[in-house]
Symmetry: C2
Subunit: 214 residues, 2 copies
């Protein structure tokens, strides 16, 4: 594996959570440490918003094992995001591991078009908002994000997790978070647990919503 | 309100957080596991709302060491709460440990009346709402809770934590949470980190607000 990898090693949950509480770590690190705890080697997972590929790479490291099992469905509506993701994977992992990643130029609301029915999906990750370093006017939108969350909830296996990182610092971000909260709050408690982690005195900081299927 | 049963050992953060996310553990268990990570043996801490004494007991176990150091200032406005707390401590720990707990019949807003100035306080715990098993019409109120939070923020040492468990299932609970959020959101980011953990699809579940001093 090349060392050009920009992503940090995944922290343990204790380090990540205590770091978050004391302002030393980002909520994205809490998310990654939770994913690592949920995902097993050989799992199939979805990166619904590849962006610059950092989550795709983190997920790949969690699912890949020596036997070549594990699969990631990655998608993004912007071709530049898919190019950045491919390029990051090329720099960071070997060819056998890269083969586990299937990238699609697709809106996340249409993930069921490319993921075969009855695939057991352990985790669906959303990292919303705009592409860092890209055109900040191209953002995920409440309507398609809601459709994507519905699709994710249909695909998710029991014991699986939907992880949503929502950003409220850009125009439209607060509306999108409200749509997410409305959807996740309405999930029946018999089959779902949804919870939210947020900073209070950094109001434009990212908000993490985790949805677990019983 | 009720917290972890006295017979339950404090979980590690990983167990508590993953349990919370998957609906198997209460947010009170997340709080206790965070306290355990922050508190050192021999510390001085405050239980601002003794209730039935479960938090007081948990805190006592965290600060008590063999050399007899450690101190807990515990207070409650209801005498029945202080009686329940004393009785729980009597059943659960020996006399030397009990001596570390100073109980006061006092509103939490007046904690500075009994805590000597310049005491280094590592943690102040609030468990708001009504006394479980007691008169449900006697509840903590936004005005005095706000004064108590201000006092706690003055007393807290650098590296310390204010932990607030807020309940929204009783009349007035939502207003109190809003007061707490308003106060903790306004703390300057240079010196404070405040964050919130809540269930989304159990809207009357407790909400945990953690405030860390840099």
């Amino acid at each position: 594996m090349a060392s050009a990898d920009k992503s940090c090693p995944i922290s343990g949950i204790e380090d990540a959570l205590m770091g978050f509480i004391t302002g030393k770590r980002k909520v994205t690190e809490v998310a990654h440490s939770v994913w690592k705890n949920i995902i097993q080697k050989g799992d199939t997972v979805v990166d619904a918003t590849c962006g610059n590929g950092h989550d795709t790479l983190a997920l790949l490291k969690m699912v890949a094992d020596e036997s070549g099992r594990g699969c990631i469905y990655g998608m993004d509506i912007q071709n530049s995001a898919l190019e950045n993701t491919s390029s990051l994977l090329e720099k960071s992992v070997d060819r056998n591991e890269r083969k586990l990643v299937k990238l699609f130029s697709l809106c996340h609301s249409r993930m069921e078009d490319v993921i075969p029915k009855d695939t057991l999906i352990r985790l669906v990750a959303f990292n919303l908002g705009y592409l860092p370093g890209g055109d900040k006017t191209i953002i995920t939108m409440p309507g398609t994000t809601l459709m994507a969350l519905c699709a994710a909830s249909r695909l998710l296996m029991s014991g699986g997790l939907i992880s949503i990182m929502a950003y409220v610092g850009h125009p439209g971000g607060r509306d999108e978070l409200e749509t997410i909260q409305s959807f996740t709050s309405s999930l029946p408690v018999e089959s779902w647990v949804s919870c939210k982690f947020e900073m209070l005195n950094r109001p434009s900081g990212p908000v993490l919503v985790l949805v677990s299927k019983k």
